[in-house]
């Protein structure tokens, strides 16, 4: 007898083949959590004040990253997409806000781990008279359809010690809530010390506000909040004072000196000998007031409060009869 096993065997074989090849549509890829980074939690800060606050409050329990610590200018920092990915991985991202660090406007950062420290006092932001980005102001068509010019904010909020204290408080709250494995008791204790130091600076600013300081010229548009905190009669030169060719020219500065009677020019760093000579010809004495977006030296160990105290001492010394050691 001839038997034809083919159809039945084919059915069984086909089913087995299906089971072996087609059934398992899963990749077998384990679904696990993202790999945990080893070491202490990291905090990213986009400028020196926040970097200093995070280091002071975090102590050795956190690792703080900032462009300032890598010798980059916090003002001009433009991270690559790969650097933004590294920033995304931070446990906490501290941003200044108030239009400081324009790169943050177009960076994809995790909102739940990002704190914009100046947002708490948005109603106290000061408008900047200096436009850095004219390319944002344009209109669609000759009739001006769709004009979207907008105000620019002064960004050096930390030069007002009261606002710096609010920013430190926002950073402290974030560090207590968002850093896994870090003692909140330790952060709270160190934050209280920091607040006390910033409070002393605020008191000194209030003291300066009560003094009769002479009119002052600011060499760069960064001192708005300092002027507000200390009640300065500040006149903006926007002179780009230490560049080979002054931004607004000598004549405008000379006119400003004549108009205001100012004898002091706030400068962000010590002028070159040539510039010092030019200033003295104008009857101006440079007063070193650090903007502190970056530390004076990349590897400096002085904290923001120490350096800010030095700034305020410089201003206080301008008052008649005042001298600071």
């Amino acid at each position: 007898m001839t038997t034809n096993h083919a159809p039945l065997l084919g059915l069984v074989a086909g089913a087995l083949l299906l089971a072996a090849t087609g059934c398992d549509g899963t990749s077998g890829e384990p679904r696990g959590a993202a790999p945990e980074a080893s070491g202490p939690p990291t905090v990213f800060a986009d400028n020196f004040p926040l970097q200093s606050f995070a280091q002071v409050m975090g102590g050795t329990e956190v690792e703080v990253n900032s462009p300032c610590l890598e010798g980059e200018s916090a003002v001009d920092y433009r991270p690559t997409p790969e650097q933004i990915i590294e920033i995304q991985d931070a446990s906490l991202i501290l941003l200044n806000g108030a239009e400081f660090a324009n790169w943050t406007a177009n960076a994809s950062l995790p909102g739940s781990r990002t704190i914009i420290t100046a947002n708490a006092f948005r109603d106290q932001w000061l408008e900047s008279t200096h436009h850095h980005h004219h390319d944002h102001d344009h209109q669609h068509g000759p009739e001006g359809e769709g004009v979207h010019d907008h105000a620019h904010w002064a960004s050096h909020t930390w030069l007002d010690p009261n606002l710096a204290r609010e920013q430190a408080a926002a950073a402290a709250a974030g560090m207590q809530n968002r850093l896994p494995g870090v003692s909140t008791v330790g952060i709270r204790a160190r934050a209280e010390d920091l607040m006390a130091e910033l409070g002393a600076l605020a008191d000194q600013a209030a003291l300066i506000r009560g003094l009769e300081l002479p009119p002052i010229i600011g060499s760069e548009p960064v001192y708005e909040y300092l002027a507000s905190a200390c009640g300065l009669d500040l006149h903006e030169a926007d002179w780009h004072w230490n560049e080979p060719t002054p931004h607004d020219g000598m004549e405008s500065l000379r006119n400003l000196v004549l108009a205001t009677g100012a004898r002091h020019l706030l400068v962000p760093s010590a002028p070159t000998a040539e510039r010092l000579e030019v200033l003295r010809e104008l009857g101006l004495e440079p007063v070193l007031v650090m903007p502190l977006a970056n530390p004076p030296t990349p590897d400096g160990t002085e904290t923001f409060t120490t350096l800010m105290g030095r700034n305020l001492d410089q201003l206080q010394a301008l008052a008649p009869g005042q001298s600071v050691d």
């Binding site: 089913a15 790969e82 990915i85 909102g111 669609h140 068509g141 979207h148």
Partner: protein
């Protein structure tokens, strides 16, 4: 009947079935499918319930525009294409500023080749436990990452691009298609995230026409149809012929701007993740008081949806069981007729010495072999069904 006789009867049964291979195969398939279908349906429903509820349970609260809660939850969790109302993106800040919860925005209006383009916060990937299998996450507007299934289906990976769908062929005022740069592919998650494109919320706004970058007018100063002239202040005036770029390069991002305050720009929903149960209660009470938004609890909404699905599933399973019984009756009839047709063969077996018990064993063995084959086939079909996504029903709707 001894063992040898039993084995001979089984051997004869097998050879008979094999000789009538086509008929035997049809019987095995008919029986197998009839048995498998109710099992597969039941399995899909149970797994669907588990997977669907798991995703719903992992999404504590969803906020969107007032309307149907089911649409909002299905849109926010499964990215279904039905259009949703929008709420201003400032709602995200209002919730996070409360300190009670994190909020993850979702812009769901865009599609790329039919796949959902989800504009969100990069933290969404962490929230859903989505890992980058290849490349990196998105870092700036214009970049995106693809779900595993979508990347495999389209053969795309880091370095490739994907073009968003135009909003409408007749909508000349709508957004332009945007070519997104793919920077990464997600590891398979066996969820709707596998079939989606993820990008920054601002990217979705650009796709929707709420923001754009501009051509550097210096590049087109010799093209009179684009450059109309110069204003009194010396600024170049471009005509309406100037088009937004269809790809956002890092250089062009410098000119990126939005029309209006970004806080007023729309999002279709947001996932709210309260810090703890107390925060959830307080926040829910606050949000439910607001008329301009809708708060939905996905676990509650999905439980209601599943209850309806269960009713339909139970009905379907009942129908399939009835069909199976009918199939079984038909098969029994076929076998009975087959025995009648084989009367001569069975008489011959009896005359050459096969007892009634041997003949009964022979016939019973055929039935057992057919039933065994059908059971094996049914199990294989059931096993194969496990390769289907757990939330198949919701995916089919996408």
């Amino acid at each position: 009947m001894n063992l040898r006789g039993l084995l001979n009867a089984i051997n004869l049964a097998w050879r008979h079935l094999a000789f009538h291979g086509v008929r035997s195969s049809i019987l095995v398939l008919a029986l197998g499918i009839s048995a498998a279908l109710p099992l597969v349906i039941q399995s899909l429903i149970e797994r669907g319930e588990t997977a669907t509820m798991a995703r719903a349970d992992r999404t504590p609260l969803v906020v969107g525009a007032p309307g149907g809660g089911i649409d909002l939850v299905l849109g926010a969790l499964w990215f279904l294409p039905e259009p949703l109302g929008s709420i201003p993106s400032r709602t995200v800040g209002e919730i996070t500023d409360s300190g009670l919860a994190d909020a993850l925005p979702l812009s769901l209006s865009a599609r790329a080749g039919g796949a959902p383009v989800v504009g969100t916060d990069v933290g969404y990937l962490d929230f859903r436990d989505l890992r980058i299998a290849e490349g990196r996450s998105f870092a700036v507007p214009g970049e995106c990452v693809l779900g595993a299934d979508l990347a495999a289906k389209r053969g795309l990976g880091p370095g490739d691009t994907i073009l968003t769908d135009p909003e409408g062929l007749l909508d000349i005022g709508g957004g332009y298609p945007l070519r997104l740069r793919i920077t990464g592919v997600l590891a398979p998650a066996r969820s709707p995230d596998d079939g989606a494109v993820f990008c920054d919320l601002r990217t979705s706004w650009i796709i929707a026409g709420h923001g754009h970058v501009h051509i550097d007018l210096e590049e087109v100063k010799d093209e009179p149809e684009v450059l109309m002239g110069t204003s009194e202040e010396g600024r170049s005036i471009a005509s309406a012929a100037i088009t937004p770029y269809t790809e956002l390069t890092p250089e062009r991002l410098e000119t990126l701007h939005f029309h209006g305050n970004p806080e007023d720009l729309p999002i279709e929903g947001l996932v709210v993740v309260p810090r703890d149960a107390k925060s959830s209660t307080i926040l829910s009470a606050r949000l439910e008081r607001r008329g301009e938004i809708q708060l939905a609890r996905p676990s509650v909404v999905i439980a209601e949806v599943l209850e309806r699905v269960f009713k339909i599933g139970a009905l379907l399973a009942g129908i399939l069981v009835a069909t199976g019984v009918a199939t079984l009756a038909v098969v029994a009839l076929v076998l009975a007729l087959s025995i009648r047709l084989r009367r001569d063969e069975l008489d011959t077996l009896s005359r050459i010495g096969a007892g009634r018990a041997t003949i009964a064993t022979l016939l019973l063995s055929e039935v057992v072999i057919l039933a065994g084959g059908a059971a094996l086939f049914a199990l294989l079909v059931l096993a194969c069904s496990f390769s289907l996504p757990d939330d198949l029903v919701l995916r089919l709707a996408n």
